[in-house]
Amino acid sequence: MAGMTKIILGNLASKPATRPHPFEPHQPMEGYRGELINDPAVCILCGMCQRTCPSACLQVSKAEESWRWHPLECVFCGNCVEVCPVDSLSMKRSYLPVQRQRLEVELHVPKKAPKKKTSKTAQPEADKTEAEA
């Protein structure tokens, strides 16, 4: 038992490895894939996030001007954040807290005016992505 005794004495002499949660909650590190947030001012409702999602937890509807996210089905993989063409999606550094009610996030995203390109063939971005959808 000599091997273990030394380890135990060393552990007794040093500070505990556990954290007194919830008095000192764990702060996730930089780059943690936490809660998903969408900026309605930037989102163009193209639907790329919906197509990439492996767990089908996003619903984007241009007609209803809405963007829905089901956090209980999300696997927090971060694919949607990577494919978003306008970078309106991002992941917070904290995870979703425990909820009392089933949480479903629905955002009203107003339709943006099509951006005018400076080139001659000004096909607006909104129309192009509508054709893709």
């Binding site: 273990m4 380890i7 894939r33 999602c53 971060g78 694919n79 990577e82």
Partner: protein, 359 residues
Amino acid sequence: MAGTVIPFGPQHPVLPEPLQLKLVVKDEIVEEAVPQMGYVHRGLEALVKVKDFKQMTQVVERICGICSSIHGLTYCLALEELMGVQPPPRADYLRVAWSELHRVHSHLLWLGLFADALGFESLFMQYWRIREKVMDIMEATAGNRVIISVNVIGGTRRDIDEAQRKWVLGLLDEMEREVKATERALLHDYAVKRRTVGKGVLTREQAYDLGAAGPTLRGSGVAQDMRQLGFCAYKEVGFEPVVEHDGDSWARAKVRYRETLQSIELVRRALAGLPAGETMVKAKGKPPAGELVVRSEQPRGELLYYVKTDGSKNLERLRVRTPTFANVPPLVVMLPGLELADVPVVVLSIDPCVSCTER
């Protein structure tokens, strides 16, 4: 047949995985063992019809939580070869680093469970305490603790910058010291040796004929490890398989202990030799029609992926053969002749991972 049938599992305090073994026992000696599976079958292979080949990366990572990154890596290697995409060298080294970190955390988890199965709770807690450092490294470098999701077709999504690299190397030194300090308690303890030496013996011929994989095979003296194939950056980093010759539970524990230390060293070498450059190459289009077999090495053994594509964005067939699937027949051969009280430790010594086995 005369004898009592004792169902061991799927729920049992000492069994970490939902595998049922019907043990036919006579006077405390096990005569026969019949495995029964199916408690966590999720039908993930059938999801290829529904999810396209890029979404399948996430599905495949969730076959197992402990070795998830290596499932994703093998899948990405298969599709990269089919699509003719060559990931950049920096991605290869980073993939080696993350895979070996997974191996470290999986082996530390197993060493803890092994101690727990023997009743040695303090050592169990000590190994998991060391393992927390690896989880912190995963969280900081890849964004999540368990299912890190860094492998994509074409490379890796994340990068390790200079400051993180130094921090990781510092933590690796601490971990190596702490793991080495446990050697005496784990491998040279009188009670541990009495319970594991000579139990669950698998001879070299039996291990080879029954198709054992991983430490189960290497603990019986066969020096075979899929990392010798040299995928990713294993050739550059340099690698030799770890072999023991006794074939009993103690030999398998020793193989895993030595592999933990070897993997820490491999992570150091991979991070030291990181070439500069991009980490990802964009993979465009769909995979062409064809089929492919790719193999890699999980902590538990040899992993085989058979991928068949037909040119559309859904794969036609994905077949995953996980190492525990290969290790269950040797288990069925190992158990007869043992005393009933030795069964949990021997079952644990093959490192079962039933969520991998049943997908």
